[in-house]
């Protein structure tokens, strides 16, 4: 895996995170939370566009032709495969996964690659508000199931201790490797990740996820701009 593969993974995940945030822009528990969901959705969709734009200057674009036709070609986490049915899923994604992507972006900004140092720095400022939002809702107490789910996917996404992210860190391209990324995330959230058994042998190192699956065809077409969301029948 190259640095471009990692940047594509962050971009795909932020695109899906933005979409799922936006779906809650009229369903959150309060009017303020609705507005925050919309604003964070816009931020993350914007971040994904910046990240896709980094692929060319990095010199290698891992996007193949299958991205036009195959939802499984997207490198987003299983957490985003289905729309979230409860607010706790939103909070867990906001607090854990959004923060995990930010920690990785921090590792890119503080690494040795100039284009990432410059283009991704502003994201860290915007992400501060996502972090405050997620941490506050997390402290108010949520169902532990989506929380554990999000932690597992974040740790899996960081990758195995001796995998490609560790190699990118060793080469100086990233300022943190998997153990540091996890520690940094725990420090920020002022909590520890649950004890997890991860089977790295069955882990998909390209899509950085522990199980197969993808978004449904309609959502895939909508992301490509070929379909529209229709209002639900009342």
């Amino acid at each position: 895996m190259s640095l471009s593969d990692l940047v594509l993974s962050i971009a795909d995940n932020k695109q899906m995170l933005g979409l799922r945030y936006a779906e809650w822009a009229t369903r959150a528990p309060s009017l303020e939370a609705d507005i925050a969901a919309a604003a964070m959705g816009l931020d993350d969709l914007g971040h994904s566009r910046v990240l896709y734009g980094c692929l060319e200057p990095l010199g290698e674009d891992p996007r193949g032709l299958d991205r036009e036709s195959d939802p499984e070609s997207l490198r987003a986490l299983p957490y985003f495969d289905e729309p979230w049915s409860e607010w706790a899923q939103f909070v867990a994604a906001n607090a854990i996964l959004d923060a995990a992507f930010t920690v990785m972006i921090e590792a890119c900004v503080n690494g040795s690659v100039e284009v990432l140092q410059h283009r991704l720095r502003k994201m860290l400022i915007e992400e501060r508000y996502h972090f405050l939002h997620g941490r506050s809702w997390l402290r108010s107490g949520i169902n532990p199931e989506p929380l554990n789910h999000a932690w597992r996917e974040a740790i899996e996404w960081f990758g195995p201790p001796d995998g490609e992210i560790a190699a990118l860190h060793k080469g100086g391209l990233l300022s943190m490797g998997p153990p540091h990324l996890r520690t940094r995330l725990e420090e920020q959230l002022e909590t520890r990740a649950p004890k997890l058994q991860i089977d790295w042998k069955s882990w998909d190192g390209v899509r950085r996820r522990g199980r197969p699956g993808a978004i449904d065809r309609r959502t895939f077409e909508m992301l490509r701009g070929l379909d529209e969301r229709k209002p639900e029948a009342v």
Partner: protein, 73 residues
């Protein structure tokens, strides 16, 4: 039909202040309601970020000391 609330949990009202240039004073641009400072910061930024402010600040309404109110001498 969605029923909107301002906040869940214990509500605290915050006044939001901002300015576009260093030369102009901070002025009130609105308010948000949130259960804590962190969420109030996130809500203020999300709600009032449509303009290019060079500074934004929030203050708990209960911390504002009023000298007099409309209608008072």
């Amino acid at each position: 039909m969605t029923t909107y609330k301002r906040v869940s949990g214990d509500a605290v009202e915050y006044e939001v202040f901002a300015r576009k240039t260093r030369a102009e004073p901070l002025h009130q641009v609105g308010s948000v309601v949130a259960p804590d400072d962190d969420l109030a910061v996130a809500y203020a930024r999300a709600t009032y970020d449509e303009e290019r402010w060079c500074e934004m600040a929030i203050v708990r309404k209960e911390h504002v000391i009023e000298l007099w109110q409309p209608g008072e001498p």
